[in-house]
Symmetry: C2
Subunit: 332 residues, 2 copies
DNA sequence: AGAGTCACGGCAATCGTTTGCGGTACGATG
DNA sequence: CATCGTACCGCAAACGATTGCCGTGACTCT
């Protein structure tokens, strides 16, 4: 079928070793023969067999990426940047989608682990101990989750959250409702904590509803609950929930941005598709992805596979759009 | 590092061949030894090396999937269903995103082709001849594009488009504007043709604007053009464009669903997030994905690698929501 | 009892690459 | 002229799994 090293070697009257060296270790072989080999290899359309190479090198030149839900607009930008960065470094990317099934997460990761050199887990929800253990078995980088003894890339929601609260306060709001994400989600806790801190610092009352799954439908459910709560400002766990809320509230005749203010988190491209557009805390998704790849490849190269646990923190900031406005005189 | 066949064999006092057979060809070996081997293998945590297996079998148990843009909500459902179906059949999925760069499409596909048994190309925009040639080199299934001599799964927009036109006509519209997708896009031509046919059959005047890239931003641009055209009903190439149009029109103070009607295609989950919600032609995305995998694996199994070119056609239908309404008395 | 059958499992070749260990030929050096 | 160094390249052994072929032993049938 495919052209092999041996065929190229035969066509050049040299041994396979020489061809191999010529193509991977150019200095090790005479310049003249090297160019000859290179030419013939190209002519014959030679491409090294991944399998053969893997077998002896022990590497696969592939990284795995596990995400909870490709359809959640938060992840595509991350996936894209992971792919782009990996491709630059000659790595392929295997993707697995857990469909938000926490139970499948480890299983999928383990499955991938056999065919990749390293893994990136985005927003995992598996128990910490399991993740630590996984990270001891092969190079892993966690995105949007800090794990003991492992490397991770996370976002620092403090800044953005503080801006969000100050923004609402400046509009006259004194009471904010947090629409919580999945109960055991690490980033939900981070966000809730950041919000609590910001509220405390600004003397704002904080309420909470939820938990909600990060899906539009759940956001619609949240909207109905929100209407019976006495608040005029809500910060949602993520954009999807926020969008669901807006959609449902609008449908029920409320004027988002006037009667009630809504803030999302992620600043996904969808933030601009609604009317009014969604005020959201911007998360640098592309950087999340590329930083994760860098951290991972770093780990792979150094051989120091369990290199110093590092946490890269990326900043967030508030992007103000139309879904937030001055608090109504009477907070309902 | 990893447990090998040889280690399992040693632990069982049998040869590697026996272990291999016990695990892959259960009938070929004595029930008693088989269970013993299975037990030991599990205990030792044995997992076959993909590389070793590939080398001798020539297969990789991996399929490649090339999509134009993961961030386009049309594709995640397809990706998901491809993955799910592939996983069922013990195949891994390598994904590549062309970022809408037509030029990279073939290159990415070729790159993948070395490490997969077969390819699925979703909505490719490469020239037909190239695609035909690609399909001769390895098993390929095309999604959302018909290619000479190759297998593909496409959608039949005729039905949905006819429903859409009839729907608009029943609301009093006599003039429809098509917001075209990328000029050389195959599905754009399909959709335009289907629309033209439906319009002719219903004695409706058809205008056209574009081309537009399938992105929200482009839709916003379309909206502004639309306002200076004398139409009160538009059918967009896809939901993203339609959503961009709605968003921008609403922002400019128009009442979508009253002053102007908008219809999208794809019926992506986002259709429900806007207000009013987007009337859209539903495309069975999940079926597209799983049908593609079935077609591909079929091709792989039969060895008849260039099996009969088949085209699977999936039906579409209109989903009516709030973005369409009765035509205003004076079409502006 | 002898021959044939059958189930089971081992041997060894094979897939395509990489790489340590030498071997060869050449030029340089004393 | 002999010795040594060096640059280049070939040999062959891995890597881990699969599989055709054959040997062994037990059983059956006549």
């Amino acid at each position: 079928m495919a052209v092999t090293l041996a065929e190229v070697a035969a066509a050049c009257n040299v041994s396979t070793s020489t061809v191999s060296r010529a193509l991977t270790d150019p200095e090790k072989v005479n310049a003249e023969t090297r160019t000859r080999i290179e030419r013939v290899a190209r002519q014959l359309g030679y491409a090294p067999s991944r399998a053969g190479r893997s077998l002896v090198s022990g590497r696969t030149d592939t990284v795995g990426l596990v995400v909870p839900d490709i359809a959640n607009p938060f992840f595509p930008p991350i996936i894209k940047s992971v792919q782009a960065r990996a491709r630059d470094k000659r790595y392929a990317v295997l993707i697995a989608d857990t469909d938000e099934h926490v139970a499948d997460e480890l299983e999928l990761a383990r499955g991938l682990s056999r065919q990749v050199d390293g893994l990136i887990l985005a927003s995992p929800r598996t128990a910490p101990a399991e993740l630590t253990r996984l990270a001891q078995q092969l190079p892993v980088v966690f995105v949007n989750r800090e794990v003991e003894g492992a490397r991770s890339v996370v976002i620092d929601e403090a800044e953005g959250m503080q801006e969000a609260v100050e923004h609402l306060v400046s509009l006259g709001h004194r009471r904010i409702c947090y629409l919580a994400g999945p109960r055991r989600s690490w980033s939900n806790q981070q966000r809730r904590d950041a919000l609590a801190t910001a509220c405390a610092a600004n003397d704002v009352e904080l309420r909470e509803l939820g938990p909600f799954e990060p899906q539009i439908q759940a956001g619609m459910r949240a909207a109905d609950l929100l209407q019976s709560a006495e608040v005029a400002a809500a910060i949602a766990y993520d954009d999807l929930i926020a969008l669901g809320v807006m959609s449902r509230l609008t449908e029920r005749g409320m004027q988002v941005g006037r009667e009630i203010s809504v803030i999302g988190i992620d600043d996904s491209p969808l933030s601009t598709v609604t009317h009014p557009m969604l005020t959201s805390i911007h998360v640098p998704a592309a950087e999340l992805g590329s930083a994760a790849v860098d951290l991972l490849l770093d780990q792979l190269r150094d051989g120091a596979e369990l290199g110093a646990p590092t946490t890269v923190k990326l900043e967030t900031r508030l992007v103000i759009r139309g879904s937030t406005g001055v608090a109504p005189a009477d907070p309902r």
